[in-house]
């Protein structure tokens, strides 16, 4: 697992702060704007950098601590750029009933990373998710944006291969 203490400081991206400020400015009028802003920043820029937090806090007139608290509460918000392909394996009960624990072991073996980690070659980020609502067709795995059902180890190999 990467913690903030050991994570390499992200390289500042030119113009990033300006873009984050624009996104936050566009959405600040929404009720409860912070989470929609964080989603929008992550969707466009890939993750929520520590430097972004101060910018968003400034736009919303919140303390940096408040924004930091929200970013770190929710699993969705990444603090560093993910690998080229994200692979999320469901680990909830219904998928466990059809071999999701064993599939997760296999996914760790094949990607070379644990849950929440990115492979050394930057190819994959592996995550665990508790339920995609595909409980009758498990084990469920999301590769990139696409959800897959009844994923066997062989099928996972094929999906990872397609993503290379």
């Amino acid at each position: 697992m990467t913690s903030e203490v050991v994570a390499a400081a992200p390289v500042p991206v030119p113009g990033r702060a300006q873009r984050v400020r624009e996104i936050a400015g566009e959405l600040r009028g929404l009720r409860g704007a912070l989470i929609p802003i964080l989603h929008a920043v992550q969707e466009e820029l890939g993750y929520v950098a520590q430097d972004d937090v101060a910018v968003i806090a400034d736009v919303l007139n919140l303390s940096v601590a408040e924004v930091h608290g929200v970013v770190t509460f929710y699993k969705d918000f990444r603090r560093a750029a993910p690998g080229r392909t994200t692979v999320a394996v469901c680990q909830a009960e219904a998928c466990r009933a059809v071999g999701a624990v064993e599939l997760a072991d296999y996914a760790r073996l094949r990607t070379g990373c644990g849950f929440g980690e990115t492979s050394a070659d930057g190819r994959f980020t592996l995550d665990e998710v508790f339920c995609f609502g595909n409980c009758a067709l498990g084990p469920a795995v999301q590769v990139g944006e696409k959800l897959h059902g009844r994923v066997s180890p062989a099928r996972l190999d094929a999906l990872l291969g397609e993503a290379r």
Partner: protein, 504 residues
Amino acid sequence: MKIFVSRDSAARSVGADEVAERIAAQTQGLDVEIVRTGSRGMLWLEPLVEVETAAGRVGYGAAAPEDVDGLIAAGMLAGEGESLGLVEELPWMRRQERLTFKRVGVIDPLSAEDYEAHGGTSGLRKALAMTPADVVEAVVESGLRGRGGAGFPTGIKWRTVLGAESDLKFVCCNADEGDSGTFADRMLIEGDPFTLIEGMTIAAYAVGATEGYVYLRSEYPDAVATLKAAIERAHPAGWLGPDIHGSGFGFDLHVRVGAGAYICGEETSMLESLEGKRGMVRAKPPIPALEGLFGRPTVVNNVLSLATVPAILTHGAKTYADYGSGRSRGTSVFQLGGNVAHGGIVETAFGITLGELVNDFGGGTASGRPTRAVQVGGPLGAYLPVEQFDLPMDYEAFAQAGAMVGHGGIVVFDDTVDMAAMARFAFEFCAAESCGKCTPCRVGAVRGVETIDRIVAGTERDKNLVVLEDLCELMTDGSLCAMGGLTPMPVRSAVRHFGEDFTA
């Protein structure tokens, strides 16, 4: 002619897009329209292809993309060849009583014309012709109880919000369907989103709210896209906006996407999240009906509760209340998942037994091995052995058995399951997803994992079982919300019914 292929994300997860593409390629130049519907809920038959014939829709499934050419060669376009027969005559469909899910799998989810042609908007039109108080009383009379899990009477909640004085009230739909084994909210939103919009609009009219939010989990990207598209189309149709159906009543609806926190399915945590904060549970009172979103009177209901309201208004409260058993009135949308041969959606009146659902509808396990346990009501629900399969699906009957109906999800396990591992996972999950506000949940979950590890390692087993029971009692009685309060339910039921697994 029309051919129907599901666009539901479960169907797509096993190749429905590829099947639809193949059919389109093979029928080029022919008078064929491919309609992408929701799913009928017979998920083991997905991808299911339905062909319109004079007698009704004929089904073909499960159809792989490579099966398409052969099916067409055998006469599929004329409803011929080896088929499942008429889809609505299949025993799985005939035995159901679909009110909430009436249109799911039948219509194009984003077609306003389809929606109206299949009875949509009639509930809202009836409601707008009544006084708000009469709408509330109709929902009370229907006996509808919260489908999210708690089972609180929906109409009583609405009555409280109607009676609250405020210049701003909200209707919030809890679509943070995080419970494993439940997928009915997702399928309803992907398959018939206008029904949810209609139900929320009726709720808003009934209680005097002008603004609504659907809190939809990020794990459901297809549902998010479908609902947003439906809201966009509802405005020009006059179903949302400043003057709904020319009544002068105005209501606006917004989608907010969650961010991967299970606890945000708890209603007060969801409200915090909607306000842009950490999803920390609030102490009650004050109840959200009086001080909810941004401190204003707020209706918070589950997707299925709200989506059932149009049917109640359309058919009448009494007709709805005639379904069901005891104090569980109406129909419920049960979901069969896990290691089950025939998984999917079963909407039927309360009172059907657990065994009928698992064996008659579900057809036993997918692995073909004996069923050993089923978990009902999500990760916080009890594990039940086959000896309890005669339990009727009824809120009170389940409560008496130390279990809960919850959101109606049923997860099946075969005889290879290690129930001590499942009990340990219940604590692990609680430790991962606890908001951390109250100590019994935050610390208890961690201690629970450790205690089960000691029990299965054979370290003072009997003494540690006493510690485990004591911990469960404390979490049940001392936690702030259902997360910590109900985590003991799967644990205790596993120990009670499957004690032989808790050994070294």
